[in-house]
Amino acid sequence: MQAFTQHTGIVAPLDRPNVDTDAIIPKQFLKSIKRTGFGPNAFDDWRYLDAGGPDIDNSTRRKNPDFVLNQPPFDKATILLARENFGCGSSREHAVWALVDFGFRAVIAPSFADIFYNNSFKNGLLPIVLDADIVDDLFKRIAAKPGLELSIDLEKQTVSCEGEVIARFDIDEFRKHNMLNGLDDIALTLQHADEIRAYEERRGQEAPWLF
C-alpha cells in the first residue's frame, strides 16, 4: 500500500449529500477482476453524457460539461470535498480503487459510511472527517477561488489552506501508523498467528459446533 504522510493538491467540490458507491463506480464496471483501471469510469453516470460499459472506449464518449470533475482545474484535483454520508451503499472497494485511480489521495466530508471509510485506509486514500461548518466554509472558499489547494499533514493531523492551519482531524492511532508507513495489514495480523491459534483452541472447547 502507498504510504501517506503529507499531501498538497487542488480540491474538487462535490456538493451533494449521500454520494453512494453505485454513483462513484456504477455496477457495469464491477465485472473486472483487477484492482486498477477504474479511474476513467469514476462517477461515470455523472461524468459522461452517453452510456458506457466495460468494452466501450471512454475517449470516444461525450463528457458532461456541467460535472465538476470535467471542469479545469478540478480535473486535476487530488482532494475531494463532499457532504454527509459519503460512500454509503454497496461495500464495493472498487469505489475506492476508482477514486485512487482518478488521482485522489484524500476525501474530506462531515461523515463517511463505515465500510467505505474502512476500505479507504486499505488503499492509501485518506478519509478526513471535518465539522459540517468547516466543510461548508471550504465549499465557499472554493467557489470564490477555484483551484484552491489544501495541504494535509497526517502526522500532525492537520489541514492547511494558504499556509494557515484551518482544521485538525481525528484518526485512530493504529490506522494512522499503518497509513504513515504503508503497512500491509495481513502481514501485521499474521505476526499474531499464535494468538489466533490459541483463540481457536479455546473457542473450539466452548463452541465445538463452530469447528
Binding site: 449529500p17 464491477l30 465485472k31 461495500s91 461523515s111 463505515d114 495480523t189 499474531h192 481457536e200
Partner: protein, 466 residues
C-alpha cells in the same frame, strides 16, 4: 456487568486488542461471491498465502448470473469470466461452492441461512454490504471490502473498532397487511440513511418478536440502509426452530449444547444502549419510497413531499435533485404514480414467505396493460423449488408475471435484467439510488404485496384497493 447482545457477540470473538482499542476479531463464517472476491484471491496468490480455514467458507455466484434459461451458459463474456474465475478460485483453494447449476445456488444472503451455514452466535462476513441480513439469527454479521475479504481469507480475522450500541424497538403490533419491509422502511424514514452510522443496531420490541425468520432477515438486511454495518435480533424459539435440521446446522447432542449457548444471545436486563429509538408499530402503514435514497419514504396513502417545506438547505437540495431524477412533482398522490416494470426478488424479499405474499395478491388477477415487465426472481434454487411445489409459479405465470431463475437480477442490474432510462419500477429490493436498476431507471422500494398490487393496478396501490 449487564451486556447487550452486540457486546456478547463482540466479546466472544476478540482475539487481541491494541492499545487504541482496535481489536482483532475472529470470523466464523465467510461467504464469498464473484464480484468482490477475484482481487482478494489474486492478492492471496501474489503473496504466496493460503486460506487460513477453508471449512468456514461458502461461495456462490449470484450477482452476474442470468435469470433466464442457463443451459447455454452465460452470454455476457465479461460476466462469464467473473463467474468462471470464482469457480476456478474455489477449485484451486478447495472451497465449497454452490455453482450456477446447483439447485442450492442463489443469492448469498438467502442461501447462508437456508443451508444452516448462518448460525446464532457466529461472526459472519461477506464482501457485500447486505451481510447484515444474517444478524437476524443473533449473529454479528457485516459487509466488508475486498481487502478485508483477502484479510479474512489469509488470517480468519479482521481488524475492527467496536461500534456503539443502538436499540431500535418497534413496540406493539402492526396492522394486518403491514410487513417486515414496511417496518424497516419506516425505521429508515425515522433514522435517516446515516442515522445508524457507527452503531450496531439491535432490533427489538413486540413487532420484531412477532416476525418470522424471513421477516427478521428483511429487517436486518436493510440495517445498512440506515448506515449501520450490523443489525441483529435476539435468539428465541423462532430462531432455533428455523435452524434445526438444516444441512450445516449441528444436530443431536451437539445441537443441544449449542442451543444452551444460543439461549444466552439476548441483551441482559439492565444493559445500557448508547442510543435508543422507539417506534410505534400500530402507526406504521405500507411504505413506498419516492426518491433516490431509502430514507425518502412515505406511506402508500400519502403524497410526494415538498422540498419547500424542508428547513435544512442541504436536505432540501437533495430532495429537489431526487424529484428531478425521479420525474415526480411534489404533492402528487403516491397512488397516482404509474409504473412500467415490477421486480419481486433480491436478498431483501425473495424468500418463500415473500413469494407467498406476492402470489396471494396476484392470485386470479391479471397484470395491467401498461406494465412492460413484471418479474419474480426467487432467492435460491431451493426457494424456487418450494414455490413450484406450492403452485406459486403457476399463480404468477397465469397473472402475467415472468418466473425466473435465482440471482440478484434487477436488484442491481449487473445481468441483462434492467431498467431503461426513465422507466419506473416497483421493486422489492433495498436500494433506490440513481441508476441502481439501470442507468436513468427510477426505483420505488416496496414490499412484495405492494409490488404485486402495483403490477395488477399499473400504478401504486394498497392491497385493499384491488
Amino acid at each position: 456487568m449487564a451486556k447487550t447482545l452486540y457486546d456478547k457477540l463482540w466479546d466472544d470473538h476478540v482475539v487481541r486488542t491494541e492499545d487504541d482499542g482496535t481489536a482483532l476479531i475472529y470470523i466464523d463464517r465467510h461467504l464469498v461471491h464473484e464480484v468482490t472476491s477475484p482481487q482478494a484471491f489474486e492478492g492471496l496468490r501474489l503473496a504466496g498465502r493460503k486460506p487460513w480455514r477453508t471449512n468456514t467458507i461458502v461461495a456462490v455466484p449470484d450477482h452476474n448470473v442470468p435469470t433466464t434459461d442457463r443451459s447455454a451458459g452465460i452470454q455476457d463474456p465479461v460476466a462469464k469470466i467473473q463467474v468462471e474465475t470464482l469457480d476456478k478460485n474455489c477449485r484451486e483453494f478447495g472451497l465449497t461452492e454452490f455453482s450456477m447449476n446447483d439447485v442450492r445456488q442463489g443469492i448469498v444472503h438467502v442461501i447462508g441461512p437456508e443451508q444452516g451455514a448462518t448460525l446464532p452466535g457466529m461472526t459472519v462476513v461477506c464482501g457485500d454490504s447486505h451481510t447484515s441480513t444474517h444478524g437476524a439469527f443473533g449473529a454479528l454479521a457485516f459487509g466488508i471490502g475486498t481487502s478485508e475479504v483477502e484479510h479474512v481469507l489469509a488470517t480468519q480475522c479482521l481488524m475492527q473498532n467496536k461500534s456503539r450500541n443502538m436499540l431500535v424497538s418497534v413496540n406493539g403490533k402492526v396492522a394486518p397487511g403491514v410487513t417486515a419491509k414496511d417496518i424497516v422502511l419506516a425505521i429508515i424514514g425515522e433514522l435517516g440513511t446515516a442515522g445508524g452510522t457507527g452503531y450496531a443496531i439491535e432490533f427489538g420490541g413486540e413487532a420484531i418478536r412477532d416476525l418470522s425468520m424471513e421477516g427478521r432477515m428483511t429487517v436486518c438486511n436493510m440495517a445498512i440502509e440506515a448506515g449501520a454495518r450490523a443489525g441483529m435480533v435476539a435468539v428465541d424459539d423462532t430462531t432455533i426452530e428455523y435452524v434445526r435440521g438444516r444441512p450445516y446446522a449441528p444436530s443431536g447432542e451437539m445441537l443441544e449444547k449449542a442451543e444452551k449457548a444460543w439461549r444466552e444471545l439476548h441483551t441482559d436486563e439492565g444493559a445500557v444502549f448508547d442510543k435508543e429509538v422507539h417506534i410505534d408499530a400500530t402507526a406504521i402503514k405500507p411504505q413506498v419510497t419516492w426518491g433516490t435514497s431509502p430514507e425518502m419514504v412515505v406511506a402508500i396513502d400519502a403524497v410526494v413531499p415538498d422540498p419547500d417545506n424542508e428547513a435544512d438547505k442541504v436536505k432540501a437540495d437533495g430532495m429537489r435533485k431526487a424529484l428531478a431524477y425521479m420525474g415526480l412533482e411534489a404533492g402528487t398522490p403516491i397512488k397516482d404514480i404509474a409504473v412500467d416494470k415490477v421486480f419481486i426478488g433480491s436478498c431483501t424479499n425473495s424468500r418463500i414467505e415473500d413469494l407467498r405474499a406476492a402470489a396471494e395478491v396476484a392470485r386470479g388477477r391479471k397484470v395491467a396493460d401498461n406494465i412492460k415487465l413484471a418479474m419474480v426472481v426467487p432467492g435460491s434454487g431451493l426457494v424456487k423449488k418450494q414455490a413450484e411445489s406450492e403452485g406459486l409459479d403457476q399463480v404468477f405465470i397465469e397473472a402475467g408475471f415472468e418466473w425466473r431463475e435465482p440471482g440478484c437480477s434487477m436488484c442491481l442490474a449487473m445481468n441483462a435484467d434492467r431498467l431503461e432510462p426513465g422507466e419506473r419500477c416497483a421493486s422489492t429490493s433495498n436500494r433506490n439510488f440513481e441508476g441502481r436498476q439501470g442507468q436513468g431507471g427510477r426505483t420505488h422500494l416496496v414490499s412484495p404485496a405492494l409490488a404485486a398490487a402495483a403490477a395488477i393496478k399499473g400504478r401504486f396501490a394498497d392491497t385493499t384497493d384491488l
